[in-house]
């Protein structure tokens, strides 16, 4: 290990729209080293990677490559400096061959240059051999399996003379054996003096492969540790180790009958298998789990977006066969989706029209909309939810994120649901709106609604839920009561420890 790090990030700070994503984070990587980066959802791992690859610019802090400071990092500059990243989903051109994909990173691209096909194939074969991949360079990428595509990505990265390889959740969609093959490639790269930044939620992998581990929490470095003597439990403690800072307006509510019941719900298309869960009237159940554990997919299967293959969904004891959102809405389910701009609201439509969309029947008689009634309904919600807008006739896209989310929520309140599924209800919402949304959830529970809340924020899960269901690998790994639940237990369950 040489004294000068291959890549060093010093005191990096980055904020998005006033929200601090990284504060004074330092990180370094040496030749032939695997340095793992771990942290909860939203700890700042992705942002740090984006800063190092030049995808976003840091607000302050410095980057240096092989001891030389880099004044301004950009994607092109980082490639030129030998930094390459491969992500969970390979970013290849599916309709081109392996050789063409690799050539894209390799060859200088003058549009009028004649292509030397033989050389292109030979280069691709050499690179694939270097990562130990037995793949025909003439195959179309779309015919390759996921691990094969990943190997092509790695070959491509090495071909561009990468000295630093960033691997972001590379094993998320790999089988046990494929993971072992990938580790062999990583060992091979190490011996070729490539430095590797390795990001994974799978702690056992980290402990098996990393030389050093840096833990991020809430945008700050908790510490960098050599692998020797590290245990999964130590890592989990380091990843959490924070006090519950926010005050949540959670009060105990007398629970009613079972409002929503899932019985062995399986939906192969959504990656959900054998999920069983009960939510009672007046209860808020938090659905925790890592990104990719199938929380949103479970909600979508319940809501009829991805009809289940087997199992049952019952609302107040009645089995519902929701093959479409319309059927789920009729059965009394509301679903506030995660991606507000894409799915939660119709941005180009007026606030009042957005609020009535899921329940036009309430403001319409025989298909004719009572525009005055629609407007007064909207004005009632604007007042009740304290939505800041000049007029209910304004387009939703003119509102702030928090207010858009309140409009999306109002749409479901207008349907008077029995069960409300909230998917990341406070993501990308300012602090003020966030506590208002929490207060509203509590109020809804007191009115007898059953609430299922998906959240990646552990404090929110622990602060708002009566019970916490933890998902892992497409199924409910366990359910904790409010009293038993701690950040450590939830995270350990989500990680499978």
């Amino acid at each position: 290990m040489s004294a000068t790090p291959l890549l060093a990030a010093n005191l990096i700070t980055k904020s998005y729209a006033g929200v601090r994503a990284l504060s004074n984070v330092s990180f370094d990587l040496h030749e032939g080293e695997v340095h793992a980066l771990v942290g909860e959802n939203g700890a700042g791992k992705s942002t740090l990677i984006k800063v190092m690859t030049g995808a976003v610019a840091a607000d302050s802090g410095t980057l240096s490559v092989a001891g030389a400071p880099v004044a301004q990092m950009s994607p092109a500059a980082s490639r030129a400096l030998g930094i390459a990243a491969i992500y969970q989903q390979p970013a290849l051109f599916p309709h081109l061959t392996v050789a063409e994909n690799i050539a894209f990173a390799l060859e200088p691209r003058a549009p009028w240059r004649q292509i030397d096909w033989r050389r292109r194939r030979r280069d691709a074969r050499d690179l694939l051999a270097r990562v130990g991949a037995d793949i025909d360079a003439d195959r179309l990428v779309e015919t390759l399996s996921m691990p094969e595509q990943q190997l092509v990505e790695i070959a491509k990265a090495i071909g561009s003379n990468a000295r630093v390889l960033i691997m972001d959740e590379p094993t998320a969609s790999l089988s046990e054996r494929e993971v072992q093959r990938l580790f062999e490639v990583v060992a091979r790269l190490k011996s070729q003096k490539v430095g590797i930044i390795y990001i994974s939620h799978r702690l056992e992998e980290i402990l098996a492969i990393a030389d050093r581990v840096t833990v991020l929490r809430d945008g700050s470095t908790v510490g960098t540790h050599a692998r020797e003597g590290l245990h999964a439990s130590t890592l989990i403690n380091l990843m959490i180790g924070r006090e519950l800072s926010a005050i949540f307006p959670k009060r105990a509510v007398a629970l009613g009958a079972v409002a929503l019941e899932l019985r062995h719900l399986t939906c192969k298309a959504a990656g959900v298998r054998d999920a069983s869960l009960v939510v009672r009237s007046g209860e808020i159940v938090g659905l925790a789990g890592l990104v990719g554990s199938g929380r949103t997919e479970l909600a979508q299967a319940v809501f009829g977006l991805m009809p289940p293959d087997s199992g049952e969904v019952l609302v107040h004891g009645q089995p519902i066969a929701a093959r479409s959102p319309a059927a789920a809405i009729d059965a009394g389910i509301g679903y506030l989706p995660e991606d507000r701009k894409q799915h939660g609201v119709v941005p180009e439509m007026a606030i009042e029209h957005n609020m009535s969309l899921a329940n036009l029947a309430a403001v319409a008689r025989r298909g004719l909309i009572d525009r005055a009634g629609e407007r007064s309904q909207a004005e009632r919600f604007v007042e009740q939810l304290r939505i800041k807008t000049a007029s209910v006739a304004s387009d939703v896209e003119s509102l702030s994120g928090g207010n858009q989310q309140k409009v999306a929520l109002a749409r479901w309140l207008a349907t008077s649901p029995k069960v409300l599924i909230l998917d990341e209800p406070t993501q990308g919402v300012d602090v003020g709106s966030k506590s208002e949304i929490h207060a509203l959830m509590q109020e809804l529970a007191e009115r007898g609604l059953a609430v299922l809340m998906i959240s990646s924020e552990l404090p929110e899960i622990l602060g708002m839920s009566d019970r916490i269901a933890v998902m892992r690998a497409g199924t409910i790994a366990g359910v904790l009561s409010r009293e038993e639940a701690t950040q450590e237990r939830v995270l350990a369950m989500a990680l499978g420890h």
Partner: protein, 319 residues
Amino acid sequence: MLSQHRRELWVGVAIVALFAALAIVRPEYFGRGNLIDLFLANVAVLIIAAGMTLVMLAGEIDISVGSAFAVCAVSAGALSKTGAPVLLVIAAVCVLGALLGALNGALVAYLRLPSIVVTLAMMIVLRDSLRWITQGAWVQDLPPDFQWLGLSQGTYPVAAGLIAVAIAAALAWGLRHTAAGRVCYATGSSRDAARLAGVNTSLVTLCAFASLGALTGLAAVLNAMRFNQIPANTGLGLELKVIAAVVVGGTAITGGRGTLAGTVLGVVLLGAIGPALTFLGVSAYWERAIQGAIILVAVAADALPRIRHTHAALREARA
């Protein structure tokens, strides 16, 4: 209110300016005969454009309307020659048009095929099937009670005008005041969001296409009545006129935004400009080019505020 209907306003201003110029330079443009000719030549475009507005608001497009128009016109002629009463002919052809539209709609809505491809194929299939069946022969010797709706040549324009106005008014009102109109906007604006709100977006798409088909059938009959024969190649290029009028009228090609009033104004502007050129002494060969230029100006005018908006947002994000 004004900012929301800026497009309608500008098209209106353009029409007024055009008419004002004509009134000064060529007042004979406003002669009774010319106006009636102008109107009759555009009734079909107006009725189909009203239907096209629904399809485009729902985020789709139909370029097969010219061919469907020909199929409906020839069918109307053939049916009337069997002695069927004119109202039955109209009803039957509307149903035929609705079925053709519903076929497009079903392919788009349930197989999720791109509407431009589906209707391109349909445009060719309908046009060439018709050519093969008729062998290029025109439908001739139409019975007198079919022509001019069985009315006199003088009262027919009044009747056709009433029908067109009634359709435009009904659709304009329906888009604003009915649940069906609302879900049409929602589907075109954001299909995913509409579906998540429980809207049956496939059904909306199907109905929009079927309505357009029925209106195409109606337009075809009303147009066929004006002549005593129906050429087998009727309606060639009609789809372009219709789509141009809808686009100039401010309906977004991506769906979700637009009004029927805008479409009506678009039809008036594009319909009035051709003969106006002749009156102003410009060669008729320029007509298409100028119509094309109007479309470009209209869509560019749409893009400008959006680009400015994006730049402002970017600057704000950087600051």
